[in-house]
Amino acid sequence: MPRIHEKRVIDTKQIVSDIIKYALLTIGALILFFPFLWMLTTSLKTLSEAIATPPVWLPRAPQWVNYAVVWNMKPFMRYIMNTVICCICHVAGVVVFSVLGAYAFSMYSFRFKGFFFTLFMLTMMVPGELLIIQNYITIQKMHLMDTYIAVFLPTLASGFYIYMLREHFMQMPPSLFKSAKVDGTSNWRFLWRVMVPMNRNTIFTIAILSFIGQWNAFLWPELVTRTDATKLVSSGLIAFRSEASSNVQYMMAGSCIVLIPMIVFYAVFNKQIINGVGGGGIKG
């Protein structure tokens, strides 16, 4: 029947275009993913396999021993612990400051509110690299050099997260606060019993994004940490580079050790992370 025939023609077209789409995406994903795959396979190769031309794609026998060697060359466990501790402190501080700041800017009326708000927003414009000079001096003067505190202290207050949370606080229906006020709810109770639980997704997103940011930060941590007792994974990896020198398989095993916790973290929270970044708007 002609109608069925027509339908079949459309379907073929659809299938062809689908195949093209999936093919392009797969190629893109492979290119984007290639460095990770290469890193992982290389970390399990012998040196001669790693530098062979033409390339040897997969190791003949996975050299798990590379990981053992690397693990003993540098205190990676210590680095990971340091990073986790700094990340937790950083996230806790960022969340508390953002909640308080956003509440003040969204629900309060006070003198110089506009001025303060502009000031907070302006801090988003200043490139972080400009700040390292004086912050380095400040941290040194506070005798905090080579401590955890030095790592996370300067980035605790973030104009960006305060702005992001304030936008969400402002979107709450005004009648919620009105009815809470009629019922005699204190401002403090309203914040913690209504505002925070209702915006828990946004707060969670802020927590995750700041966690990722702290985990991957390297310029500032590299400047203020000197010893293995405080070095973060990123700085540890920089130090490890020179030791591994041309042993590419060790270098990649070290990189994998640093990447794997974050990839696991991403696997667990990827929906939240993607939604947070997509919905959060600006962050460069």
Binding site: F97, I132, N135, P154, L156, G159, N270, G278
Partner: protein
């Protein structure tokens, strides 16, 4: 009985749009700590950087400077390395920026157009965002290796001659571009996808009923409706690209030695220049002067953006 207006004890004020605000100095208490931190670690250093830049010599441990003047600016503006950095940053903005925006738009459109495995592709394409650029930079260093690198092997398949990507001073900037494009895709894809999600699905139904082809739908409907997002992403990436630093550091630090960006500092960018003057050469005043010039350029770019946006972009 005559009524006179009574003084309001009420600490609540209603705004014009019907919101209720608390009139209380408690707001200052909430803002005290964040404000203190921002002042100490953002505003104060900015002001200090401005001050440092005007001294000939500056002892940053004592915050003492000698020889007030614009010498540092003159030095920076006559420094070949600075102009190299400016040129490289310009190349990144002219090549890596459009390429990464176009590629991420393409991938976002593709992901948006498929039905199955959408989430998987989205997750895969976003992965580079969460990974440390130091670790990934290490991988790229080896992929770009002149003898063992897979990159040379790959272009060799097409008959191209192997290049010394990280050691040949004319190649380094292109290696940097490739790494920047790769590194910049993830974030922009997610922003584009979020923008695509905001487009009203009814529009597509209408187009489908009218028998519009998918290609025409994309060109005539999706792209125009996505224009505000595209604009936002481009502008953000512009600032981000101007601030390129991570990629240089992770790709070049172990080559060239002494923390310089590639052989003869040929892969240096403006922000890397600031770091280089401060950390490698201990010239705080030069670093500060460069930072101020950089900040001025950023502010100029932002202002132009704002003006252009006001004129041409209509946010739906």
């Amino acid at each position: 009985m005559k009524n006179t207006p009574k003084k309001r004890k009420s600490r609540l004020v209603e705004t014009e749009d019907g919101r209720l605000l608390i009139k209380s100095p408690m707001a200052y208490v909430y803002l005290l700590l964040p404000m203190a931190f921002l002042c100490l670690f953002v505003l104060f250093p900015t002001v200090m950087a401005g001050r440092m830049a005007f001294f000939q010599k500056y002892n940053f441990m004592k915050s003492l400077g000698t020889g007030f003047g614009t010498n540092a600016f003159e030095y920076v503006l006559h420094d070949k390395v600075f102009w190299q950095a400016a040129k490289n940053t310009g190349i990144l903005m002219a090549v890596a920026l459009p390429a990464t925006v176009a590629l991420s738009l393409m991938f976002a459109l593709l992901i948006n157009a498929i039905k199955r495995l959408k989430g998987m592709f989205q997750a895969l394409f976003f992965l580079p965002y969460v990974t440390s650029s130091i670790a990934i930079g290490a991988a790229f260093q080896w992929l770009f290796h002149s003898e063992y690198g897979y990159f040379n092997w790959f272009i060799g398949l097409f008959g191209a001659a192997p290049q010394k990507w990280l050691t040949d001073s004319s190649c380094v900037i292109w290696a940097l571009c490739i790494f920047c494009i790769w590194n910049g895709l993830a974030y922009k894809i997610v922003l584009f996808l979020a923008g695509l999600q905001k487009i009203d699905k009814e529009v597509y139904k209408a187009a489908k009923i009218d028998g519009t082809s998918p290609w025409r739908t994309t060109v005539k409907i999706t792209l125009p409706l996505l224009a505000p997002t595209t604009w936002m992403v481009s502008m953000m990436s512009m600032i981000y690209t101007a601030k390129t630093y991570n990629e240089v550091y992770s790709l070049f630090t172990s080559y060239g030695g002494g923390g310089s960006a590639g052989p003869g500092n040929n892969a240096i960018t403006l922000v890397y220049y600031i770091y280089y003057q401060f950390y490698e050469r201990q010239k705080v005043n030069y670093a500060a002067a460069a930072a101020i010039i950089f900040l001025a350029v950023i502010l100029l770019l932002t202002t132009i953006q704002r003006l252009v946006a006001k004129k041409f972009v209509q946010y739906v």
